[in-house]
Symmetry: D2
Subunit: 341 residues, 4 copies
């Protein structure tokens, strides 16, 4: 059986997560990982069996054996690495967002297009079994034409100020997953965005020029209306629910809980909180995401999340930011025109 030789660029939380999933896969040989602080990860890499650890990602791109790379480094490094990797003929998996600048994202996608390498964007939620079932239910026409979309997406606790300052803001860092999910579920492009936001959790967000609470409404080209609510702090854990309401029915995805135990006492009936955060909730989705990326390479299939998907989500995020800043609905066409994408 042929195996794909893979290298990972960036060994932060998400890079390590992918590494640990890849080493368990039979169709993968995880050959190398790079990190600016290579010394810090050597023991870990050794333990899970990654032969090469380097502090220069170019060493990975120059390794002729390596066929595919994962880009898990900070967002501002994505575009140059994509460009170099594409030129080096590597298949690419890139964490979201591709970049903070639409023009740069466009440029990276062009580099990919020219070289014909596979390019997958890291919208991991599409690989969650429950969300996939909602998507399939709509796609197979089981509930008819979508009319309304609801997404609730709330984190269990806010990130650090350092993270927030460099994150690109709630719409680009957090809601971008929901913007992709919206397109995935409704099966139609977003045409217009109206975003409302507030700082209700921590003034730190205001200091960073960001919000911690937001509601974004979307108009789709098929006429459907969507609404996404986001919060940076849900004390009861990671809250990830979606609903597509359609002409002939409605599909709803509720939160998964760690256990199905219920405790009845004189106080009431107590259920588990939702699974704690994305590592728990999307644990299996991360595995499937890698499996599908590897399969698209080995079996020469289309990647399940394309560069186009990455760009669309960024366009919606940019429109949401502009809508919030200018207190008016903003059309995606306006953003595309301004960014010439």
């Amino acid at each position: 059986m042929s195996r794909v030789k893979v290298g990972i660029i960036g060994a932060g939380r998400i890079g390590k997560l992918h590494a640990e999933n890849l080493v368990k896969m039979h169709r993968v040989e995880l050959k190398a990982i790079s990190d600016l602080f290579a010394g810090h990860i050597r023991e870990w890499a050794d333990r899970i069996g990654i032969p090469v650890v380097t502090d220069h990602y170019q060493n990975i791109l120059h390794d002729k054996e390596i066929q595919a790379i994962l880009i898990c480094s900070p967002t501002d490094t994505h575009v140059p690495i994509i460009t170099e990797a594409a030129k080096a003929g590597k298949h690419i998996f890139c964490e979201k967002p591709i970049s903070f600048q639409l023009e740069q994202t466009k440029q990276a996608l062009e580099a990919v297009k020219e070289t014909g390498v596979k390019f997958q964007v890291g919208f991991c939620r599409r690989f969650d079994q429950s969300l996939k079932k909602a998507h399939q239910t709509v796609k197979e026409g089981k509930i008819g034409q979508p009319h309304l979309l609801r997404i609730t997406s709330r984190d269990p606790h806010p990130p650090t100020k350092e993270y927030v300052a460099a994150s690109g803001g709630l719409f680009f860092d957090m809601a971008i997953h929901d913007f992709d999910m919206a397109r995935y579920l409704v099966g139609s492009e977003v045409e217009e965005v109206f975003a409302q936001g507030a700082v209700l959790i921590d003034p730190m967000f205001a200091e960073c020029g960001d919000v911690d609470t937001a509601v974004t409404t979307l108009k789709f080209s098929n006429g459907a209306i969507g609404v996404i609510d986001n919060s940076r702090k849900a004390v009861y854990g990671y809250d990830q629910r979606v609903e597509v309401f359609a002409a002939n029915g409605c599909v709803t995805v509720e939160n998964a809980r760690p256990t199905t135990a219920a405790i009845s006492t004189a106080e009431g009936v107590l259920l588990d909180k939702p699974k704690y955060f994305f590592l728990e909730r999307y644990n299996e989705a991360f595995v499937q995401e890698m499996a599908d990326f590897i399969e698209s390479i080995l079996d020469d299939k289309e990647v399940p999340v394309t560069g186009h998907d990455g760009l669309q989500a960024e366009l919606i995020a940019r429109a949401a930011q502009k809508s919030f800043a200018e207190k008016r609905p903003v059309k995606i066409a306006e953003i595309m025109s301004a960014a010439q994408v």
Copy 2:
């Protein structure tokens, strides 16, 4: 529209409940109520509009206008009242159990049979919409032949010692509802009973020669096996669940809750406890029970719960008592033979 003139014998909790439901019904004229302590209920009767209050139930039986009576007096008075009422040509609704003695129950049913009056037994749970749906699901063959029956039936708090002492014991007083439900759900007669019991809540039950916790298994003539668990004290409220497992599926009835609100906090997700007790849980069932009794009279239909049903439940209760006492499975045929019913 013709209306049935009704009298109620016994104005305890259940007599009053039926009275308050009957006075709201268009097809009923509640003419009289009797109670040993008539003075105590006069104001209440006046307020809800019952013209006649008497301390002699015979006054009700002798009232030629009254067509139907409800027997809500203590169990040991049921058989003589049934016998007299049947002779007086009154249609009869009798609270469960008909009596504590199978021979007497049989005698009462014979009096009813001779006179041809309607006779309905007070198994109110059959009128609960959820339990009725379970019954219909089985009866209409939607899940095929029943294999297993599970009933959980637990009260929110124990009765008083006085009540327990006069109750006839857990199997006759409490589980008898479940024995009727078992037959109603499975649609087959019980052939054999094995009962286990314990005193785990309060030694008072042992002092009364009773148990407070029990598990009864039933074998049905169609081959199905059933199991009922009872407790006199569920701190979280009235626990009333049933399940019929069958060849092609399973129907389950969960507890109803006062509200559908759920509160998620750092502790978990808190739901309401089940509805408090039978007055809350079977509130609408009590209304429907009366409506069906009245309808059976005015439209000359068969009553929904017959004397046969009352007798069968008593036979099972007696078998359960004997099984528990003698630590062995007991056949219903053995009980029938001994009691000559």
Copy 3:
């Protein structure tokens, strides 16, 4: 015990519903009902025991015995009847909306204020036990400061074209209940509204200048953001869910179902659809709404839903209409200023 003598103006569906609830109440004497087609309701009124049926509502206002009236006639008759009734010293329960014109609503409320009669607006959902529990949970501070509000409110089937044409439109006819619920749950006034709408169910709505699908976002003066989604046709029944997400937790109200039965087969686990429509879902709420109105009169308490509440919901509805028409967020202050209320 003293009883309130009540008259009802308008014997359509909602007038009859209130009548049937009132005749069962001990503290009420329902003396009269008026309808343009009095002949059509005489038999019904006779059967449930309303002594007087008239085709002139003035006969009710002139009846000196009658202390309180219910206004259940078409919306365009509300303001003149309120004004006359207030002058006649009658306590008033008025179905929503008070009127289609903010200026007229204001005028009616002034008439009420001058005469000091009780005035309650018919936002029946506030009396639903589940929604009340959500309200209490927030009000008692159990989950802290509200950050986000979500309301889903979808009807099981669209009204007739005649109804739609005279309804005042989705925002005024249907969403107005949700606008009131929003204020009730969050405990803060709405400051700004942004509404999106679409015709996805039936072109008839477009012909009437209306929409059948809408998403409205609200900004509250306490900083919270709310979102309401509406549809005129949910094939699975009346969909009525709310959620308040707050600093220390979240309270969610799910749909109530007719039964708690679940049927498991090879196809999956099938639960009941939600209760069919408002008569089923808010059945007990309608009773409680009347009970509280009567109590506010007999015990001289404040009414649970005031004229101020009625006006606020209308202001939000008007802002939603304007926002949808002009494709921009609209402040309540702008509406108030224009209408001089």
Copy 4:
């Protein structure tokens, strides 16, 4: 980091499952696997990286490097292998049941005791997070003294006739898991058993001298009463629910579903069926079971499921068989006395 060298005896479904879990564990080196048909598994073993494949289990026992073995061969081979392995100083994980003969089980446990090797029995359900939470809830006294135990345990489809014929019967093959779960949840030994059984699914079971449907009631030494219902065929999938009802509350474990999606249509609300079978439902439990076994060796801890646990479950199974055959409750003491264990 030190790693345990492990060998597996028997490469049927369960042997392969453990192998695939062990090769992913950092603290394990899976060195060898034996099977009577070694040729059939060579390719599979190669692919997942097991260096040695043999058709003689003695080769594993004689391998001085191997410190621990898993016994996944047919039940009738367990006792001789345990005895040899213990003498060879190997730590042992043995699938359930230890044997079909209590005397032999006793003999195997004595061999283990003499040599002091670790010995864990394969009751995998104890490692399920939901069932563990139920166990902990009881153990930590959160709901007080247990009064009632309910276990529902139903397979999605019957095994083959060959399997049934060699299985030891429903009580020994299937319900034995539930007997262990009963002890695990209630935290007390079983004293008496009463079993009822029936052939309702397939006459094949009767031909094998077995039943396909059973209800077993248990009396515990702490006074609690338990009831287990079993079926060989639940068309809606693997049904695994438990409940402990106690003095101060109740803990219930519901079935896990593959997704949390719900589809509402005009037919009702459709949820996923339970996870299909034990491989799906106890997927993570099998991993944890191995992790705990390895940890007990490397960190010299007590194994989480002991030989005593294995023996107790067999005693209960034997009592259930006898009870069913003789139609009477059977005490565990009677079984122990007869078997001299």
